[in-house]
Amino acid sequence: MTAEWRRCPACDAFVYWKRLKRNLSVCPECNHHFRLHLQERLDQLLDEDSFEDLGGELESIDVLSFADSKPYPERVEQARAKTGSAAGARYGTATIDGHPVVVAGIDFEFIGGSMGSAAGEAITRAAELALETQTPLLVISASGGARMQEGCVSLMQMAKTSQAIGRLGEAGVLYISLLTDPTYGGVSASFATLGDVLISEPKAHIGFAGPSVIEQTIRQKLPEGFQTADFLLEHGMLDLLEPRENLRRTIRNLLDLHARAEAARTDGDRSGRLPEADGQAPVDDPAALERRDPWEIVQTARAIERPHTLDYAGMVFDDFLELHGDRLFEEDSAIVGGLARLGELPVVLIGHQKGSTTSEMVERNFGMPEPEGYRKAMRLMRYAAKFGMPVVTLVDTAGAYPGLGAEERGQSNAIAESIMMMSRLPIPLVTVVTGEGGSGGALALAASDRVLMLESAYYSVISPEGCATILFKDAAAAPRAAAALRITAPDLLRLRVMDAVVPEPEGGAQSDPPAAAANVKAALVDTLSELLRLDGDTLLERRYDRFRLFGAPGRQPVLPPVEESE
């Protein structure tokens, strides 16, 4: 049934069909994303004429000889006649901007996209082909859930597809999952939410149980936007929420970056992929650093105008693609992270983000993460290790957030797990403390092969104010505490807590962010060029030894009293 003028169900405008099609079936008046047939999705995402359909023999199997008001085979025939699709699911090979990809998808038009043997087989065969050919997998989901007419065999498709994805994951092959409107039930509770990257479109409905079931069960009205992709992003369940016009480009960028990462992984000299860097080299001699008042440095480190992680992401790296969520509870924007390039070398960049305006600072909790922030960081670090990418962390936090919810959700464990995880990742890890290195909340992102700091940053077990109150019994003694704690660059170099110091321009990083960024870039290039030459086992051994020395008799450097140092 067709209509030349289509009414938008969101804004009620009548839109001319060609205008709608030209706009990728997104209402030009209100941006409502219309549902697409699977073929339309493929047309929009894949290179023209690149799709080779390999699913010709897929078919729904009437395993139960099922009949309700009509026999199951009759329903399948009706669906075939209605949709022109043999099985309601397809898979094959294609390219996206020349990048090879294995693609699979489910068509919601075919019996509500329900997953039975045919859909399960399509997804599984696609995953198996991706594994065999070491080609990234893209799965496009749209489903109401399992197909009841195939009973437990439908249920088993969840296991069949998930194990295929698991095997693919163990082989380090990228799996991008595009969840479209709607994706529910057995599909969302299996392969669809197992992607390395989960992408969706605005307002797409995604969930496990349907909203009506939930409302009837809990006898409460559900919040506005419940189970929309926007809601899922907020609750940490999606990496990316992209308007339809950006989908092809975003997927293409992911494929491109991963192709580079794969090429780098097999490259004998990965350091050759690093860029030329014009900034000042890092300093590893404490005598070469200016002695400054520690309290003045603390004030500088805390300055709102200092560049933060997202600023450095734009100035130091290329093509930063922020990935969101911890896939457990919530998106914590006090920590940001994602994929980036340092020259031709793909990396995972993670860092604290304080915010520059009042509203942003509030939104980002002033850069003080809750457990979700650390769990997001860990998820991204596992991602990096899976695909052999170095991790760069930029640390700038007053500390982990000391809140009720944070404690309820395991702030201690999150920090502990992050530290331990970093210690065991067989990939290069570099940290730069760019502002405040606030205790455990900072260390959770800083258990790295090399830890550097900006000249006007500080790193401390406790804030000077906290130390003043507890040990000096006087909050006003914070400047004295700052000096006593030895939290600035020269002393931290001597203690070997820091490996090198990144120079800042006159007046601090905030006075000339591009210059500061150039120096950070130079430091990263210098550090990574050394680390990239080391294999995973060597990195682990040396990292272990780096942290082993702290407090070890005979190995731990000891600083003379403050007066003697000056």
């Binding site: 003028w5 169900p9 001319y16």
Partner: protein
């Protein structure tokens, strides 16, 4: 040579290879820049491809062949595709001056009038377009909504019935007929429509919606025995428990309710059932696809 090029370009266009069609036409136009047929094909293919200069090519055709209805129709199509509503309306008006019965132009003007708030003109154009088509046309489909919004449910129902007759498997039409029949009190037609919905809606869990619709019909009729029977059936298929209140109400009305709790009111139950119908409509809101009929004869 030019005639061959034109034929080949047309053949490619008809087969859907718009890129090749346009390329051939543009190549041929280099030697014959004012060839109307080449301009037409280049422009039409350009519209399909979203080419920026397509409207210029078709504007030139309209300038060279101002007495041909298709010249203005093509131009209107190009403007409408780019979202230039006023320009599209002007072009379709010119088409209508040449052929007052042109269905495409009437349909387009109906929608462009609606977009500018002229509901009366919109309905007038669409009614004329609908008269010229066989039932399930774009004009007729839009008229259902427009009549409904203008508080003319009987007219909306008449249009919906024509669509349902022409496209008996169309869920949106069946829902329109059911809902509108209910609203104007044509209960037998409403019941038939809900039964039809039960037949054509093959999505799991959706049977309950049609059953809720049938219960609404019986409530209107004070048919409590039948309402109770339907409510019991709905309860067995309603995984979401929405029918519980409806069942309690029906039991009470049929004299079979217990005395434990006061049953819901008729108002509450009708509200629940109306919400169910709205939810069902929402779930099928995008079943209809947007594609063209044959614009170019």
């Amino acid at each position: 040579m030019s005639a061959d090029a034109l034929e080949e370009a047309r053949a490619r266009f008809d087969s859907g290879d718009f890129k090749a069609s346009r390329r051939m036409a543009i190549e041929a136009l280099e030697g014959r820049p004012d060839d109307v047929e080449l301009l037409r094909i280049a422009g039409r293919a350009g519209v399909e491809l979203g080419a920026e200069d397509a409207v210029d090519q078709l504007a030139k055709v309209a300038e060279l062949r101002p007495d041909e209805v298709e010249s203005w129709r093509d131009l209107g199509d190009a403007h409408a595709s780019d979202g230039r509503t006023a320009a599209a309306a002007e072009a379709f008006r010119r088409a209508l001056e040449i052929d007052p019965g042109d269905e495409t132009s009437l349909t387009a003007l109906g929608h462009t009038a609606y977009a500018t708030g002229n509901e009366g003109d919109a309905v007038s154009y669409l009614e004329q377009a609908a008269e010229r088509s066989a039932g399930a046309s774009s004009a007729m489909i839009s008229l259902v909504d427009m009549y409904r919004e203008m508080g003319q449910p009987e007219e909306a129902l008449a249009a919906a019935l024509k669509i349902a007759q022409a496209a008996p498997d169309d869920m949106a039409a069946a829902l329109d007929v059911a809902e509108l029949s209910l609203s104007v009190g044509r209960l037998d037609e409403a019941a038939q429509a809900f039964e039809r919905i039960r037949e054509i809606d093959d999505l799991a869990d959706h049977d309950v919606y049609a059953l809720h619709g049938l219960i609404q019909v019986e409530i209107r009729r004070d048919g409590w025995e039948r309402a109770l029977e339907l409510a019991r059936e709905a309860s067995t298929v309603d995984r979401h428990g929405r029918t519980a209140s409806v069942l309690a109400f029906a039991e009470a009305q049929a004299g079979e309710g217990g005395d434990d709790e006061p049953p819901p009111t008729r108002e509450e139950v009708e509200g629940l059932l109306a919400a169910s119908l709205a939810e069902h409509r929402q779930l099928h809101a995008e079943d209809r696809r947007a594609e063209s009929k044959e614009l170019f004869a």
